[in-house]
């Protein structure tokens, strides 16, 4: 399906260690435009760490990142954003004491010609983007700490999509949400996908993964067990990859796959 197209992002042979522990070891993944790739695995499998390398929060020890086929220099979150990589962190990474607009534009504030913050313009833009995601949201003047879990999630999502992301990383985007809001996020993922945005989705929910993702990458102990198109494997097979590291026939085995003799 991917053919000869250039991947939007390719992370090649990425490794990072913290105090001698290999959190991510020789991992290669890629992502094409308009594609959703799910990263799954146990807690501590290295998914979030891998993603934080792409978003600039961590510095990799070795390996290369390509964006649109060209090598990308990503050494901090600002760099990543320059390449159109936006991240919705599991913790949401919101400054709780300021309002939605301040969070949405954090680090990329709109300024007046006199070099001061243009709060009114920022609030106006925030109203537009939030109106698209959650038309009933009205609490623009309140600190984010006063908002509900779902509303905060919406702010985090709004921040990621407002700046015309080409690559979106969603780390457990539905963990804090109720069923209705989860459905909304799923709808949003499909919409963004249709706009040609590539999405890395980290999720614990295997149903979500099969519902939304085109491909699934399974990680275990910092290594890739295998990669498969979701239509080629069953949920049970993916669970087998997560738990046992056993690579089914429908998947391409990675370095972390269980080596079965013969």
């Amino acid at each position: 399906m991917t053919g000869a197209r250039t991947p939007l992002v390719e992370m090649r042979n990425i490794s990072i260690a913290f105090g001698g522990i290999h959190a991510v070891e020789d991992v290669s993944v890629d992502l094409y435009a308009g594609e959703v790739v799910a990263l799954v695995g146990h807690n501590g499998a290295g998914k979030s760490t891998l993603i934080k390398i792409l978003s600039g929060a961590y510095q990799r020890d070795s390996g290369t990142i390509f964006v649109n086929g060209e090598e990308a220099q990503i050494s901090n979150p600002r760099d990543a954003k320059k390449y159109g990589i936006e991240t919705i962190y599991q913790t949401l990474a919101l400054a709780e004491n300021v309002d939605a607009a301040a969070n949405l534009f954090l680090g990329r504030e709109l300024m007046t010609p006199w070099g001061t913050l243009d709060d009114v313009a920022m609030e106006s833009e925030t109203r537009k983007v939030m109106g698209r995601l959650n038309p009933r949201f009205q609490r623009f003047k309140e600190p984010v700490s006063n908002l509900s879990g779902g509303q905060r999630q919406t702010v985090a999502i709004a921040r990621a999509i407002y700046f015309n992301a080409r690559i979106l990383i969603m780390d457990e985007p539905t963990a804090a949400l109720g069923p209705q809001e989860t459905a909304q996020v799923a709808e949003l993922v499909r919409q963004l996908k249709s706009e040609g945005i590539g999405i890395f989705l980290i999720s614990h929910d295997i149903h979500d993964v099969f519902d939304l993702a085109d491909r699934v990458v399974v990680m275990k102990n910092g290594q890739v067990v295998g990669t498969a198109a979701t239509k080629d494997v069953t949920e049970d097979e993916v669970l087998g990859m997560i738990i046992l590291g056993k690579c089914p026939p429908g998947a391409v085995a990675g370095p972390g796959a269980l080596q079965v003799a013969a």
């Binding site: 979150p77 954003k81 962190y89 919101l94 106006s124 309140e142």
Partner: protein, 437 residues
């Protein structure tokens, strides 16, 4: 949405409901917490006025109160930002002493040798040196805290000891006096005030600025079709603001020079004193003018610039600030540089007021400054605080001290009262915040 004339829809409550005070607060968008503080201040003033038999609310006492508050108020504006970033600065009192000593020696013993005694440039060179020194020391603290990862409590506790010792070292404990006559104007006193005419000019300028600010905010909101305050609320805010400003000027202008100073002044300028004495008003004191200027600049920095936005974001969630691409270390270091600069300015005012630099100057000021910031609504957990609140907090603390002196309360008892008030104020604030949530 755009037709609604109140800003309340964010609360999801109807804009017309509620009792009269509630509707009033909503329409004017006044900060209830700040109003509470002003009410507490008014209560304290009235209480002391009655208890002292009418000595507190006099132009003379209020004028002195404003001058005495200036130094701590200036430092408290910086302390707000320090605490907002989840840090603390225990060294400001000692730093004030050290920078004050250096400035004292510079203007009284070094510069006169080069430029001649009483040279008009002495005060500005001295002040510039003090500010550079304050910035450098603040920067050093900030660097150790932000880049080397030593907790600010420890770094500035060390600073408290180091700079107090250094202040002694400058002259081996000798007091430096007298100071340069121009420099001394920063400390207030009859000559260190701008007089009646310029006070009115400053007051009217303040009023015009206030009205322009309100108009500009309204224009911005209309441009983006945001809900506007009702016109009566805007008018009310402008009227009350102007009344407060002009009222303060009127008070400053009704405090006359003492007779002796008037006589000297009259003799020097060949004025014959008319029957019944010559009335020359102090006007606004220069240190107060400096403090107000610092307050405006710091409020602007905190609310209207990227730097201020990042300071608050770091206080709210340091990790989120890093992930948003903010250079949090550099911001924290800048906050401490700013604190050092403000301490130097406060040191200039304190020493100018004393007309001497002593190595004990500013002892325990760090606690007054922190208390002022905290009473002013700065949360020690970080992320919350206002410059204006801290300055009101400084005035409140000074009011307590002044009032108790007027009443003849013993010094140990004064400290006991101030300590209790601090704890009660923070407790009330905690209760208030819990209820608002």
């Amino acid at each position: 949405m755009a037709d609604v004339t109140s800003s309340a829809p964010s609360q999801g409550v109807s804009t017309t409901g509620g009792s009269l005070p509630v509707r009033f607060l909503r329409a004017t968008e006044l900060d209830t917490r700040m109003l509470g503080m002003l009410a507490a201040l008014a209560l304290i003033w009235l209480g002391f006025h009655i208890a002292s038999g009418g000595l507190f609310l006099t132009p003379r006492n209020l004028w002195n109160l404003s001058v005495q508050s200036a130094s701590v108020a200036i430092m408290s504006t910086g302390m707000v930002l320090v605490i907002v970033t989840r840090n603390i600065d225990l060294s400001v009192g000692s730093l004030l002493g050290f920078v004050g000593m250096i400035m004292g020696v510079t203007q009284a013993e070094i510069l006169p040798d080069w430029l001649g005694f009483g040279h008009p440039a002495i005060w500005i060179l001295t002040l510039a040196l003090g500010i550079v020194l304050g910035a450098a020391i603040g920067g050093l603290h900030g660097y150790i805290i932000a880049y080397m990862g030593v907790p600010s409590f420890i770094v500035t506790l060390g600073g408290l000891l180091v700079w107090r010792g250094a202040a002694w070292w400058v002259t081996s404990g000798r007091t430096v006096a007298p100071l340069d006559t121009t420099f001394r104007l920063m400390g207030g006193g009859p000559y260190g005030a701008i007089g009646a005419f310029w006070s009115w000019v400053a007051g009217v300028a303040g009023c015009i600025a206030l009205v322009l600010l309100l108009a500009q905010a309204r224009r911005q909101r209309r441009k983006f079709h945001f809900p506007l305050r009702p016109l009566w609320a805007e008018t009310f805010l402008a009227a009350v603001g102007c009344m407060l400003i002009l009222g303060a000027v009127a008070v400053a202008n009704s405090y006359p020079w003492p007779a002796g100073i008037v006589r000297n002044y009259a003799e020097a300028n060949n004025i014959t004193i008319p029957e019944g004495g010559l009335f020359i008003a102090h006007g606004i004191a220069i240190p107060v003018l400096i403090a107000v200027g610092v307050g405006i600049v710091m409020t602007f920095l905190a609310n209207r610039t990227r730097f201020g936005r990042y300071v608050f974001a770091i206080g709210g969630n340091p990790e989120a600030a890093v992930l948003a691409g903010i250079n949090t270390r550099w911001i924290v270091m800048k906050v401490f540089i700013l604190m050092g600069i403000l301490t130097a300015v406060a040191g200039a005012i304190s020493s100018a007021r004393l007309n001497a630099a002593t190595n004990a100057m500013g002892t325990l000021d760090e606690l007054l400054v922190i208390a002022a910031a905290v009473i002013g609504g700065t949360s020690l957990a970080g992320g919350v605080g206002t410059v204006a609140g801290a300055m009101i907090g400084a005035v409140l603390m000074q009011s307590l001290a002044t009032g108790m002196i007027l009443l003849g309360v013993d010094t140990p008892l004064q400290n006991i009262v101030v300590g209790i008030v601090l704890v009660i104020a923070v407790w009330l604030d905690t209760v208030y915040r819990r209820r608002v949530k």
